[in-house]
Each structure stands twice: as C-alpha cells, then as structure tokens.
Amino acid sequence: MRLPPFAYDRPRDLYEALELLNSYGKDCKVLAGGTDLLVRMKQGLVAPTHLVSLKALSELAEIKETGDGLQIGAAVKLSDILAYQPVQDHWPGLFEAVKAIGAPSIQHFSGTIGGNLCQDNRCQFYDQSKFFRAARQTCNKAGGSTCFAWKGGSDKCHSACQSDSAPILIAMDAKVVIKSKNETRTMPLEELYSSVGERPLTLADNEMLTEILVPAPTPGAGTAFEKLAYRSSIDYAMVSAGAFVQTEGGRTTRVRLVIGAVARGPLSIATVEKTLKNRPAGDQQAINEVAIDAMNTAAAFIANNMTQPVEYRTKMVSVIAKRALTRAAERAISQKGFLEAK
Amino acid sequence: MSREIKFVLNGAQTCVAIEDDWNLLYLLREKLGLTGAKEGCGRGECGACTVIVDGLAVNSCLYFAVEIDGKEVLTIEGLAGADGTLHALQKSFVSNGGIQCGFCTPGMILSAKALLDENPQPTEADIKQALAGNLCRCTGYVQIIESVEAVVDKSSGDINAVVRETGDSD
C-alpha cells in the first residue's frame, strides 16, 4: 500500500508548528506517531496535502509530575508513559489503558498519547480500503448520506470512539491544553469530543492538542481500565471502561465511569455518582446496579460499527463496567499502585 | 535532490528528481532501472550507451541528465510496440545474426533507428557512417550492417510503411 503524495514539514518548535497549522488549515494533519493517521491515508480516508510532523518538538515529548499532578506532552510516546515510574505507582488505570493500545512494545515506540486521544472514530464500514468502500454507497462519515452501522439507516454517523486512553483519563478528570497560533485554552478532556461521528473532535483546523493534565492522586482514590477484545494485542476494544473511585473511610465519596468504544465519543455514565456515593467502596450490589445502568445507557448508542454483534457488546458493557469499578475500588482501599496490585 | 525534470521516456511522461552531476546513462540505469543501455567505456568511444534524444542518437554517458528536461528520450526498452511486437530493426537483428554477445546491441539498434528515421533509404556507406560510433567485438559488423540493410526497402520512400510491413510479417 502506498501513501498518496503530500508535503511534509518538520517544524523546529511549537510556535512554528502552530504557524503552519494556521496557514495550511483544513488541508493539514498533525503527524505524531503515524500509526493511525498513515493507515487512514493509505486507505484514502483522509488526504491531507500537508503533514506537520511533531518529531522535532521536544517540548511536546515530556512527561513530568508537578504539584498539580501529571503533565503529559501530546507527543509523549506510549512506551514512555508505561516506563514512567509514577504512572505505574499512582495511576494504574492509565497504565492499563495505555498498555492495552495496539500491541505492547512495538506500536508503543511510535504511538503517542495525543495521537491516541485525537484519533478519528472508527466503524467497520468506514475504516476500509477504497476498494471495499467502492462496493457500497458513501456513508455519512465519508461525505455521503447513509449509515450502514445503524439498523434501518440514519442521517447521523454512528461510528465509535476507539481511544483506549480517553475513558480512563476522562474518569480521572483530566484536562487538555489546546493551542492555536493566537490562543491557548484548557478544558476538560471530555470536551475534546463532540459526539458527532462525522467530526468527533472539537478541535478547530488550526488547533493542536499539546498537553494532557492529570490531577494529582488523592489519598483513597483508585483507578482501573478494562478492555474487551478477541485478541490480547493488536485489537480494538469491543467495549472498554475507565473507572475512578475516591473513598474516604471505606466509603465512596466520588466516582466516575466512562465507557469506551461504544458511542460516538467516550460515554460518561451519569448515574454512577448518585448510586455509589456514600456506599461502601466495592459494594457489589451497588456496582451491579450501576453496571446495568451503564449497559442501558450504552444500549442507546451501540451501533453495528464493529464486527461483533451489537447485542453481545451491549451485554458486555455491564460486565466490563463492573470489573473496572470493582478494581478501582479495591485499589482505592488498598492504596496500591499498578505494580504492587499485580 | 537538486532539481526536478520532466521528460518523455519511451512515450510516457516522466518526472524525476535528479542531481546536477548525473549523466543520462546513470539516471536510466541506476535510478530508473532501465539497464538496456550499457556502459562500455564511459567516455563516448564505444556507443554502447546510445539512446535517442529528440530524434538524435547520443551517448547517454556524456549527456547531462539536466538537459533532457522537456525532451523526448527513447531507450531500447521503448522500441518494441506496446503489445510486445518487436520493431522491424529488432526483428532484423535477431533474424540476420546481428547479435552475438549482445552488449553493443541496444546502442547499435538505436543508432540504426536514428539513421532510418532521418534517412529511410541509406546506402551501405550511410549505415557504416551512422554505426561508426558503436563498437562491436563479436560480429565484425557484417551481419549488423546486413540487419540494417534488410529493413531498408530500396523501392519505398516511406520507412514507416516498411517498418509496419516487416513488423506485421513473421
């Protein structure tokens, strides 16, 4: 498979990069690890005339712990996140999520966290070669006016957000820093996702995700990530879940559950907090309840955008949600990091 | 690469990036994979590297690649028809014993082609003159000259007609 032609820039600093984004506009894509973008380009799903490489932007390749928490440059390699001891110690959910991306080791030396968060939505009818797509009408996402993933068709795109790192980071209330030539804005990560399948990110053409800010771990908090896939590696999730549980004296005080891979964006389950708050951490009955809620919520979104049956994926939401919440709660209580938890 | 050139290579628009110091033979052989033209001496004394540029036979080893920008280049690989039909000269060289070791053959055939394009009814002296820059160590030239003579129809003024005819027969 050949890549279509494009022009390539390798700016030396962020300022230059943002300048380029500004001048190229929508014809331009940011190239980080390339593991997702280049496949899409080979498939002819995107055809940017310009690629702006982040290779030389060392300022985006830094991961560090600050007083406020974890500060991760958008171009930090997945392998570097995994190798960062504080992540292993304090953010086991994030470790699990990053490890689950693609295949451990190989893709991780190329893939970046920013790239994982900013990947386009996927759908089994869309993420295909031109040859494959040519056998059908053009779907909403590809600029047409139908959706094969939604039973009976739809005027909306029902692709899924397949970022493995997004659910857990949202669950941890991570923020992202978005920069353009003239503006810097910081916002909750969930606001990066538009829930519009055709254009799942809220980034403007001239904007770039530069940093992810993860709040500092608080005593009594626990995180966990769960992913369900057929294979142990190089696979996309059928369902994934990121959970954050804050406890105080054995009781849950704050909790977040975000389901991945089922909806057009990471799906935050709103009822969790209400149901689990003040319950003993790890209360199975309550968790079961929440898990059912999550399944019911997700059911409204799950489309036939993966090869596995919709019904199965729907059922699995509850299973995966439950496991994530349970492990997060265990960690909250035991206060163990990823390595100790193993 | 220091520049990009566009030219027609064996009938196809071609665009390549080149270095100024490349010669045409290097470009053809090392960069475009067309190894039909050979380097026999590298200094224009043997003719094994002959190709046709805008209708003229030239030593590609002494031709600046830069200078083919906008021109038309024909190499031995482009001489046979698109369907694989050999050019009348190729057929004639094959059937008249104009080929032994074959190293001089591509250059020889192209020199002959340039001659016939310019002068469809050359005499033996014209043929010898046109092939004088192509050395051959095997054949003693006799069968090469006969090969060229065989496609020259003394009665017809239209070499293309002859070429077509010879091309169709066989």
Partner: protein
C-alpha cells in the same frame, strides 16, 4: 567524480554574469562531450557548470545576404554542419572535417564553439576554418570582440579568450570565385579517430588560368596549435598548380610543421603524410573548382 551544480542561464549576459559571480569555480558547457569526460577523469573539477544551450544565441547558421559571409553560431553542432546542404555544397572543406569528428552520437551533441575552445592540437573543426580566414566573435563581460581564428589558439588547451568569455559566432568571409578547398584527417581507422595529422588546403585560381591567386595550407597535430604553413602558401601564389608545384608545397609544409612522436604516430611519418596530403588536397581543390565551374 566531483559533484557540481548545473546552472542554466537564459541569456548571454546572464551566463557571463553567472560566470563572474562564480569566478574561478565555474566553466561553461555546451554539448558537454569533452567537459564530461574531463570531469569524469578528474582533469576538470568545477563547482559549477554554466550551460550555454539555453542562452538563445549561437545556434544560427547561414550566409549574410549583404556581405556574403558565412555565419556559424558557436553552439551549432557538428551534425548540423554535416547535414547542412549549404556547408556540403559551398564549403566542402568544412564538410570534410565535421563529418569525421567523433561519431554521429558525438556530432549530434558537440558544438563547433566547444571544439574551438577545447584548443586541442588536432581540432578538426578549426583547420578548414583557418584556411577560410574565419574570424571568431567572442563575448564577455567587457563586451564583444573579434579575433582571427588563426590567432585564436595559443597552445594546447589555451586560447586568447579571457576567463568568462564565450565564442558566440564564427564568421567566414565570402570567398573569391574559383576557390576550392579540401580537408583530410589521417588516422588509423575509418572512424572514431583523433587524427595522426590533419591537412586543409584552400586554393583560389586566377581567372582563366591555373595560376594560384591565393593559397592556404593549414595543419592539425603538426604543432601545439593548428597552424598555417606560410612558406608553402607563399610558394604557391603566382604559380601554376601542377603535380610538381603541389609536391613542392607539400615538402615546404612538411618542413614547416613541428610534428613530434606520440602514441598516435611518429614524427617522421607525420611529416611524410603532410607532404602527401598537401598534394592530394591540392588536387582535390582543383577538382572542386572544376566541378563548381561545370555547374
């Protein structure tokens, strides 16, 4: 092989100024057949080659109606001269020379200007032109100037040209009627040769007689530069052209030549060949005069 940049000026002045701005590290190139070989062998190692092929001048070939002079642009290829009916019919001495330079492939590319500027002792292109009293127009940053071709060469590889100058044109004055010329390159093979010796003879006869009005006898490889043999020329003027007078002229020319031994041939033999070929070319001149008059 040394790397170089290849510059393509579009005008004569641009070429000259490019040469000035790369003073000392640039050379001009036209057909490139000699330059390329020299670069490959390391004899030349310029940083820049300045192509003269696109400057828009130097490709003219024709006779000036007013003066009757033949104008040959410096960038005219040998092949153009070889195939020109003007040259073949009216200046057969030039045709004699150019059709034997290198091979067809070389002649298709190599230029007459390049041949002159190269200034090898054997410069086939120069010998007949000197016999024809050609002059060379040279253009450089100081403007244009004209020199007689016979004074153009100063030694092997050396000419009167200053750095950065370009041969734009060779002008051959109109020849008197009853003029015939012939050139022969003498080598070991019939083609692809550097000559052992090159001999050009040009004779103008007086009206109505076989008496010589003007004679030019020019030699290549007989000295470090192409030369005229003045004693032989002077000898012929005013004399009937016969086997004997040509014989004598040949002897004088041979004496005047400064041939030497080399890989390509021995001096004594070259001297012999000057003698023989001056005679033969002289006879050919007469023949050509006769043929022209018969037309």
């Amino acid at each position: 092989m040394k790397k170089f940049k290849y510059l393509i000026p579009k005008t004569l002045d641009e070429a000259v100024s490019l040469n000035q701005s790369h003073e000392g590290s640039a050379i001009y190139v036209a057909g490139g057949t000699d330059v390329m070989v020299k670069i490959k062998s390391g004899k030349l190692a310029p940083d820049y080659l300045i192509s003269l092929k696109h400057i828009g001048v130097g490709s003219q070939l024709g006779v000036n109606r007013e003066t009757g002079a033949l104008h040959i642009g410096g960038l005219v290829t040998h092949r153009t001269l070889e195939t020109s009916s003007l040259i073949r019919l009216q200046y057969p001495i030039i045709h004699d020379a150019v059709q034997r330079i290198g091979s067809t492939q070389i002649r298709n590319v190599a230029t007459i200007g390049g041949n002159l500027v190269n200034a090898v002792p054997s410069a086939d292109g120069a010998i007949p032109l000197i016999a024809l009293d050609a002059r060379v127009n040279i253009y450089g940053s100081a403007g244009e100037r004209t020199v007689d071709l016979v004074h153009f060469f100063e030694g092997p590889g050396q000419t009167v040209m200053d750095r950065g100058e370009i041969v734009t044109e060779i002008v051959v004055p109109k020849q008197p009627s009853r003029t015939g010329g012939a050139y022969q390159k003498f080598g070991r093979r019939a083609a692809m040769e550097l000559p052992l010796i090159g001999v050009g003879v040009l004779i103008t006869l007086e009206e109505g007689s076989n008496r010589c009005a003007k004679a030019r006898i020019t030699l290549g490889v007989a000295a470090p530069t192409p030369i005229r043999t003045l004693s032989a020329e002077r000898y012929l003027v005013g004399k009937e052209i016969t086997e004997n007078t040509l014989n004598e002229a040949g002897k004088l020319a041979a004496e005047e030549s400064r041939v030497r031994d080399s890989v390509r041939g021995l001096a004594w033999y070259r001297r012999e060949m000057v003698e023989v070929l001056v005679q033969r070319m002289g006879v050919k001149c007469l023949q050509r005069i006769k043929e022209t008059e018969a037309l």
